[in-house]
């Protein structure tokens, strides 16, 4: 077991744990908008750790270049998708559950 293997396994296991944490968040948070934030974890650090760990397994090769491309496309498209969801919910009149002053910023 080399150092690279160890680092790669730590990354992959860490990514898996973050995926679980994101799943717990989706269940725990009270409304649609706050659940989007839990999804944000699986979209970013969880996916990045997985791809980094797999890239270490692949070494410097075409496979890791493709993993890097997946990372790049994910980081460009996942916020756009989240924004589209949130924007559609707002247009559809879904009111967020806000802290404190109720209904002030919701419209």
């Amino acid at each position: 077991m080399t150092i690279l293997d160890i680092v790669s396994w730590i990354s992959i296991l860490g990514g898996a744990l973050l995926g679980v944490a994101g799943g717990i968040g989706i269940h725990r948070f009270p409304d649609f908008y706050s659940r989007l934030h839990a999804v944000g974890i699986t979209d970013t650090l969880c996916a990045a750790l997985f791809l980094f760990g797999l890239g270490l397994q692949a070494g410097l090769s075409l496979a890791s270049f493709k993993l890097f491309l997946i990372f790049v496309f994910l980081f460009f498209t996942s916020p756009t998708a989240s924004h589209a969801l949130a924007n559609a919910a707002r247009h559809g009149g879904l009111k967020p559950r806000l802290d404190g002053r109720k209904g002030e910023a919701s419209r």
Binding site: A21, Y33, H37, K66, F75, P79, H83, N87, P96, D99
Partner: protein
């Protein structure tokens, strides 16, 4: 012209990275497909400073490294809020000013806000951006405008100038 050259170079690196072939015949077929793709993109008039912001290359790289640090920080924060027992969140819906002048800068800013867990951009107005934040602290951090000031932006909105021509 420099946008066309950089697009062609980028496409060829992408082609080589995805195919991995190095025989002369396949390499020249790759060149042919790159030339054809660039020709179509040129005819569609989509090669410009906006789709291909090479003039922002260094500031984009600097911004992305800053963004990566922010993403990791806010990930840790949100994971803490998920796992902490009891009510750990204080959702906010806040309007922030959007100082970016160009469309590209606005897109980068809105996407960066969404990419960092804990804040999601919900709506883009004329000069404001509506953000849903998981916590008051996250909204306050964004309100300080550090990220907004780091987003690469054109001082004048070049895209509007182009549209008028």
């Amino acid at each position: 012209m420099k946008h066309i050259i950089s697009l062609a170079a980028f496409l060829y690196i992408l082609w080589f990275g995805l195919s991995g072939h190095s025989e002369p015949l396949l390499l020249s077929l790759g060149i042919a497909s790159v030339v054809f793709t660039v020709y179509i993109a040129h005819r569609m008039d989509v090669i410009d400073h906006e789709s291909h912001p090479i003039h922002h290359l260094t500031s984009l790289v600097r911004f992305w490294s800053y963004l990566m640090v922010q993403v990791i920080k806010s990930n840790i924060d949100v994971i803490g809020r998920i796992l902490r027992p009891g009510r750990s969140i204080s959702p906010q819906m806040v309007d922030f000013p959007m100082p970016q002048r160009s469309d590209l800068g606005r897109v980068i800013y809105a996407n960066s806000i969404t990419l960092t867990p804990g804040t999601v951009s919900v709506h883009l107005g004329k000069d404001t951006i509506t953000v849903h934040s998981l916590s008051k602290q996250g909204a306050d951090d964004l309100g300080r405008g550090e990220m907004a000031s780091r987003v690469p932006d054109d001082i004048e909105d070049i895209s509007h100038v182009d549209r008028d021509q």
